[in-house]
């Protein structure tokens, strides 16, 4: 068991290291930039200066504290958008790329079920998800200490833990696209498009009469502001994300098993 997960996990280590370095640099830059911003201007004015759609899109509550600033600059942008899209994109090639390049017949000529193949390779996305969430919080906390700001280590760690089911849910969207389309490039585009559309739906329809549509979006169940500003951990939201991931995984398996390749 787990031969395919191990194989894929090994293949993902190098990319995950680069990803973690990239996100850590983004984190360090955000922390480093905060003091010069906050000294140069009134951060409440800065927030108000953003156009309303942007405040809505980035869910900007405050920028007048390092927590609020990081929540927008690092977590809304870096985690919810960038990493969410990255995971959806990566997962989109799990099945489609092998079919596209004629490798799926070779894989399935081995005694392995399609369910197991898809699940193990999906699980291997845990490597980038976990590594980036282990390295970055350390960088955030150390950088904050270096500029003399205090951050709640518990909140930062909790935020990163809560982002794990969020990122798996985004990967689930990619996996579903991956079993649906034979061409990796199409699966990837669809995964990116759907994930970004869900993000827009959730952020732009919030507070309108269509708000309920956003219930489908993983972004609804992961709120960096709540964790960093209020210290509240939305465990129910995390559970919804786990459920969402499971549904996407089962749907992908069912379709993959059913279809011709």
């Amino acid at each position: 068991m787990f031969e395919f997960a191990r194989y894929d996990a090994r293949k993902r280590v190098r990319g995950s290291v680069y990803l973690s370095i990239g996100m850590s640099l983004l984190a360090a830059f955000a922390v480093w930039a905060y003091p010069s911003y906050s000294e140069a201007m009134d951060m409440n004015q800065l927030r108000d200066a953003f156009p309303e759609p942007m405040i809505r899109a980035f869910n900007i509550e405050t920028m007048a504290s390092l927590e609020g600033f990081l929540s927008v600059e690092l977590y809304m942008f870096g985690w919810i958008i960038l990493l969410g899209l990255y995971l959806a994109y990566s997962a989109a090639s799990i099945v489609a790329d092998d079919i596209d390049r004629g490798r799926m017949d070779t894989l399935l000529s081995m005694p392995v079920s399609r369910q197991r193949l898809a699940t193990e390779r999906f699980a291997a996305l845990g490597v980038p998800i976990l590594l980036v969430n282990v390295v970055t919080p350390v960088v955030v906390l150390v950088s904050a200490r270096l500029i003399g700001e205090s951050l709640s280590a518990a909140d930062v760690v909790a935020l990163h833990l809560l982002s794990v089911p969020y990122l798996f849910a985004c990967a689930g969207i990619g996996l579903l696209a991956s079993v649906t389309f034979d061409r990796a490039s199409i699966a990837q585009r669809v995964a990116l498009g759907v994930t970004f559309a869900l993000y827009l739906v959730e952020s732009l329809l919030r507070g309108t009469e269509y708000e309920s549509v956003g219930a489908l979006a993983p972004m609804r169940y992961f709120d960096p502001n709540a964790v960093l500003l209020d210290g509240t951990y939305d465990l129910a939201g995390a559970a919804v994300l786990v459920g969402m991931t499971a549904v996407l995984l089962f749907a992908s398996q069912a379709w993959f098993v059913h279809r011709d390749i």
Partner: protein, 307 residues
């Protein structure tokens, strides 16, 4: 019980009927050639047998397992080796990493022995492989777990002649150990070197299943004769002569209506009867070759009609 038994196996894509009501069996311990032109439905058949695509009607049993029973078929794959017609591996991995993955999933009792024979460059990444090396790596993965049945789709494409020869020897030795081989090809000479029986498929339909000897007899030879002096055309008025074409050079005095110095025809009769007549004339050149597969199809199974 045959190693593979097809029972009305059909794949209908709507706009094209890729395989139609295929019924035949491959006996345990034989090398069965599945012969047909490109696009005839060979790969479709194989991909149904391995569960990659579902039949729209009929079924098949592979090592006794119904191919519609996914779980049983997956278990059976521990005893099946497969080489696809478009073999591809993870380009980023080295050959050794690929083999390690296959070994972990299905075993590798014969890995070393096979590597001595086929020698793909294991330390290099697959993206640097030539098509021949990909094929060699594929042959190792197909046989490394010592399967009872191997299903090979156009196995010798990309192999150089020396390796092809080695591969043929190897396959015959496997057959003698009791391994069943089902191999598809569009090359007649390849099939005749290797196979005990052949099944012919054309336009998705099975045309015939024959022992290789009777198939070769029926398919005939292409004979070319070039004589020093004109020969009466009656010379080649023999049973089994088809598609006769005769000619005389312009500078000859011979009558092209009744004589020839050069002729070609396909011959399905007794080759000895023909050879016995040759010494009566002074020959410049005589060649007897296997008929091209396409000609065989056209002549004997022309128009896609069942025989």
């Amino acid at each position: 019980m045959g190693a593979i038994e097809l029972d009305g196996l059909t794949k209908d894509y709507g706009e094209v009927l890729a395989a139609e009501d295929l019924t035949f069996s491959v006996e345990t311990g034989e090398i069965f050639g599945y012969l047909g032109p490109n696009g005839a439905g060979k790969t479709t058949t194989i991909r149904m047998l391995l569960g990659f695509i579902r039949p729209t009607a009929g079924t098949a049993r592979v090592l006794g397992n119904d191919i519609r029973d996914q779980k049983a078929l997956i278990d059976a794959k521990r005893r099946i080796g497969h080489l696809s017609d478009d073999q591809a591996f993870d380009e980023q991995a080295t050959g050794a990493e690929i083999l390690d993955l296959h070994a972990a999933v299905k075993g590798d009792d014969r890995r070393e022995e096979l590597l001595e024979m086929f020698e793909p460059p294991l330390d290099r990444r697959v993206r640097e492989y030539s098509s021949g090396n990909v094929q060699k790596l594929g042959l190792v993965t197909a046989f490394m777990h010592d399967p009872d049945l191997v299903i090979l789709d156009e196995p010798t494409g990309g192999l150089d002649p020396l390796i092809k020869h080695q591969f043929a020897e190897f396959l015959r030795a496997e057959r003698d150990r009791g391994v069943t081989v089902f191999l598809s090809s569009h090359i007649l000479s390849e099939v005749r070197r290797l196979c005990d029986r052949v099944g012919i498929i054309r336009d998705g339909r099975l045309v015939t299943v024959d022992p290789i000897e009777s198939f070769l007899t029926r398919s005939g030879k292409v004979v070319r004769i070039n004589s020093a002096d004109p020969i009466p055309i009656a010379f080649v008025d023999l049973e089994g002569v088809h598609d006769l074409e005769t000619s005389v050079p312009d500078d000859e005095t011979a009558d092209p209506e009744t004589e020839f110095t050069e002729c070609t025809f396909t011959f399905t009769g007794d080759i000895n009867a023909l050879l016995a007549r040759l010494p009566d004339h002074e020959m410049v050149d005589v060649s007897i070759e296997e008929a091209p597969l396409e000609d065989v199809f056209l002549r004997f199974y022309g128009g896609g009609e069942d025989v």
